[in-house]
Amino acid sequence: MLTDLALLFSKLSLLAVGGVNSTLPELARIVVTEKHWLSATQFSQLYAIANTAPGPNMLIVTLIGSHQAGVAGGLVASAAMVLPAGVTAALVAVLFSKHQNARWKRLAQAALLPVTAGLVLAAASLLARQSDTGWLTAGLTAAAALLTWRTKLHPLWLLGAGALAGLLFL
């Protein structure tokens, strides 16, 4: 199991274009549809729990690892998710520190942005489909989306309000 986790997440690490959220559709496809480690509901709940914790937005990986294989699983999954990409970033940063090629960087960004945008929108649609079971949950998703997009309201207020609404009305 630990080897499975290490292999899966080190592969995803190198595919995380523009950030970890780009890998969520693939992650859900593998752990929910293919391997049946989690139900769709559990997947979206673990994503939500990862969001309530402080820190970088890769913590869903830690949660999936620990769901499968306890604390060791969580640590292995986290390490596998950060190491391949991190080592790449470190090497590139060291090699490119002296002679920055500005055009290359602008080109990479221009090429990556539409791909990243498509992937994070797909990730969000997937999470919404998994967690919106009725009018109330769909309303919570829509309200949180609008407030996150248009305001600078702190996400913890939204998450707290959403959990409270669920507790009271579901």
Binding site: N21, A48, G74, A89, A123, T137, T141, W149
Partner: protein, 159 residues
């Protein structure tokens, strides 16, 4: 400390408080990390750590960044496994999950809306969206297929 995104905090500590980097150097390093795969902030600490202190610097920086969040989330995982089935907890989690999906949608719209004004970007993003969400094509295939296409289309536009 980094509720809802670590980037602003890291920027403040590295640029304003400790003066390890100037704002321009920070922007350069961050944009480099954004064009590479992986969690951007984690990459940033790997890159900065490696530049300052080699391999051990990179390890120190990343351990510092991740040890507290990973420990906290492991505790939450234990609580979820133990209490996740109780009715009130389950209801709160359903509301929480729906809200978190909204947060994901909101930040996706923030990323997407400024670039989707260009037709080329809109077509590429729509194609990627359809492949990932509609057709469940695997991510390696999407990246290997769409990234070269996107790069080719950007080639003449980027000065």
């Amino acid at each position: 400390m980094g509720f809802g995104g670590v980037l602003p905090i890291i920027r403040r500590v590295m640029v304003d408080d400790r003066r390890w980097l100037t704002q321009t150097e920070f922007n350069e390093l961050f944009s480099l990390c954004q064009s590479l795969p992986g969690a951007n902030v984690v990459n940033l600490s790997f890159a900065f750590g490696a530049r300052e202190g080699g391999a051990s610097g990179a390890v120190a920086a990343v351990t510092g960044l991740l040890s507290a969040p990973v420990s906290i989330v492991l505790v939450l995982a234990g609580l979820y496994a133990r209490f996740g089935g109780l009715a009130p907890v389950r209801h709160a989690l359903l509301g929480l999950a729906a809200t978190a999906a909204g947060l994901a949608l909101g930040s996706a719209l923030r990323i997407a809306s400024p670039i989707l004004t260009v037709p080329r970007n809109m077509l590429l993003a729509a194609a990627v969206y359809g492949l990932a969400f509609g057709l469940h094509i695997s991510l390696p295939l999407i990246v290997l297929g769409m990234l070269p296409l996107s790069l080719a289309l950007s080639w003449r536009l980027v000065p």
